[in-house]
């Protein structure tokens, strides 16, 4: 008898670990039948989770924090014991707009700070405010875009128009001229480039080298009531994630995700992000970006509490929530390293010894303390060199440019 688990997802490349857990039998080996429910908006994914139509969801990490803090419709305490990936976002803009930026794309992507300043100057040349699509107010993409724009003195709420639209509608909106560019998870940036509608302006991995992306979220009460099922699912996901990270499997993975039940886009488009070779402009050779998207290595899936707090700090920064110690603690508690440790204690995976760390402090691969095995963390710098100390949120916030 296997447990049936319903998990909601959106058609994005970072559904990979869930799809592989189901299609390659990793879930079945743990006695779990994974019923993956495709949805087309984050609102519907959230409602299905909050109102109990599904037990789990592939969720934008900031949305899990926002729902818990009561910032996105019906409040519900959510719990994220597992990160499905880090990185995988890309900001693309219409070629007309991108003309004002560094023309050599490889150089443009290597220098996000310079590009942000070029972008600021380009706004003056554009005859109106640029309209940039973001997938959700509480998305890693929107938070990263705001961070990047603000580094060049651009006020994301005043100097540009941020328009919310789901990833699957971004390419059509570009075609119809409703937006000038967008930031979204793959393969949607690649799809717009392939259609000749856009070129890459920034890559998520160059803004924050290890940017938190999708998490596996549950309702907290359900998670507490079903420890054994949760543990088995996490073990299945850990094996699926290792499979996804293996370059030998990237082609097969791209084909699997291209299926209409998952992403429903050509496998060649999906392959770019998986292999870290993104075609940044139509007709040009791909730019090598080996860390474009991570699933397993460097304990990618480990939900560091400091990362939930970094997300929280950005919500505070943009006035989406008022800061106090109690709210910060609730935000941090969304990430559940304790559950991760419990589930994967006997898995042989290297297990971080701490639950919090400085974010943005590692500039070269660094061995760290682990309960077991060798754990090397990859570089996780922010492009502006800031370091986030989760114990000193107030100092971190004070350090940002003039607040409104």
């Amino acid at each position: 008898m296997s447990d049936v688990l319903r998990v909601a997802f959106l058609p994005l490349t970072d559904v990979a670990v869930l799809a592989v857990a189901r299609e390659r039998g990793f879930a079945e080996e743990e006695g779990i039948f994974l019923d993956l429910v495709r949805t087309t908006s984050w609102a519907t994914l959230r409602d299905r989770l909050v109102y109990g139509q599904v037990q789990g969801a592939q969720m934008l990490a900031p949305l899990a924090v926002a729902v818990t803090l009561g910032l996105s419709q019906q409040p519900a305490a959510l719990a994220a014991p597992y990160k499905l990936n880090v990185n995988g976002n890309m900001l693309v803009m219409a070629p007309d707009f991108a003309k004002a930026l560094e023309p050599d794309i490889a150089r443009r992507l290597t220098d996000p700070l310079g590009t942000a300043h070029d972008f600021a100057a380009a706004i003056g040349l554009w005859r109106r405010k640029p309209v940039i699509g973001v997938v959700h107010r509480f998305s890693s993409h929107a938070i990263m875009l705001r961070y990047w724009l603000a580094s060049a003195g651009i006020d994301p709420d005043r100097d540009v128009v941020l328009r919310v639209l789901p990833p699957s509608l971004t390419v059509e909106a570009m075609r119809a001229g409703e937006i000038d560019g967008f930031i979204a998870g793959e393969p949607w940036g690649s799809a717009a480039i392939e259609a000749g509608l856009a070129e890459t302006v920034a890559i998520g991995e160059r803004i924050w080298q290890r940017g938190v992306e999708k998490v596996l979220a549950f309702r907290q009460d359900w998670l507490e009531a079903n420890p054994e099922t949760v543990d088995r699912l996490l073990r299945a996901l850990a094996r699926a994630a290792a499979w996804c990270d293996d370059p030998a499997h990237h082609e097969a993975l791209a084909v699997l995700l291209s299926d209409p039940r998952y992403v429903d886009q050509p496998a060649e488009l999906i392959f770019g992000a998986l292999s870290g070779r993104i075609s940044a402009r139509l007709g040009e050779a791909p730019v090598a970006n080996p860390d474009f998207m991570l699933f397993a290595r460097e304990a990618t899936a480990f939900p560091w509490r400091s990362q939930a707090l970094w997300i929280y700090s950005q919500l505070v920064r943009w006035g989406m929530v008022a800061h106090d110690a109690e709210t910060a603690a609730r935000a941090a508690a969304v990430f559940r390293p304790d559950i991760f440790r419990r589930a994967l204690a006997d898995s042989g995976l290297p297990m971080p010894g701490a639950s919090m760390k400085l974010e943005g402090a590692v500039s070269a691969p660094m061995p760290v303390g682990a309960h077991r095995g060798d754990l090397t963390l990859g570089p996780d710098r922010f492009f502006d060199g800031r370091i986030f100390d989760p114990e000193r949120i107030e100092d971190f916030l004070r350090d940002f440019a003039p607040q409104r």
Partner: protein, 193 residues
């Protein structure tokens, strides 16, 4: 009470609108979620917004509800969060509803219940239509397979059908699958009719 229906499917919106009018609501507007629908919605200042749960444009709508200055009063999804049965029924039926703050739940509940009934009726209609279409397509395939058997093996129509049926039973397949396999094989062998 001003009700706005945001829907891609003209037919479903019409089915819902008719139901609401029959129930005595007369201030009803249908807005497709395309182009500048957000601006149109702001001008309309609705009390209740009904939207297909499966519409990809829900995120766009919710963002507008969050930032719009025109809609001064906050809008929540579902008016009475304690009514689990109602919410469950709405999600099952694929209805999402946004209601302005201050509207009494007794006034909103009938609207929501009606939307749920109409959405369900529409879904039934659609699946019946799909079934009818499939049945028709299946019958055409079986008819073609029968005539191949009648021609090639000089069987009566009744015997041709019996042969298809017994093959299907023996192989644990549907008759239409066996019929399709026969047609494919016959095409490959150049014996098409």
């Amino acid at each position: 009470m001003r009700i706005v229906i945001i829907d891609d499917s003209g037919l479903r919106a019409t089915v819902l609108e008719e139901g609401l009018r029959e129930a005595g609501y007369d201030d009803i507007h249908i807005v497709p979620p395309r182009g500048a629908f957000v601006a149109r919605l702001e001008r309309m200042a609705p009390d209740v917004v009904l939207m297909d749960l499966g519409s990809p444009s829900r995120d766009t709508l919710e963002e507008m509800l969050t930032v719009s200055r025109a809609l001064a009063r906050p809008i929540a999804m579902f008016v009475d969060q304690s009514d689990d049965a109602m919410i469950g029924a709405a999600i099952d039926a694929g209805v999402s509803a946004y209601v302005v703050d201050g509207l009494r739940k007794e006034r909103v509940k009938p609207v929501l219940e009606l939307a749920v009934r109409r959405f369900n009726a529409f879904a039934r209609m659609q699946s019946e239509l799909d079934e009818a279409r499939t049945a028709l397509a299946d019958r055409k395939i079986v008819d073609r397979a029968k005539s191949i058997l009648m021609n090639q093996r000089s069987l009566s129509e009744q015997d041709a059908y019996a042969l298809l049926r017994s093959s299907a039973m023996n192989q644990g397949k549907k008759i239409v699958e066996v019929a399709q396999a026969l047609i494919t094989a016959s095409d490959l062998l150049g014996g098409g009719i």
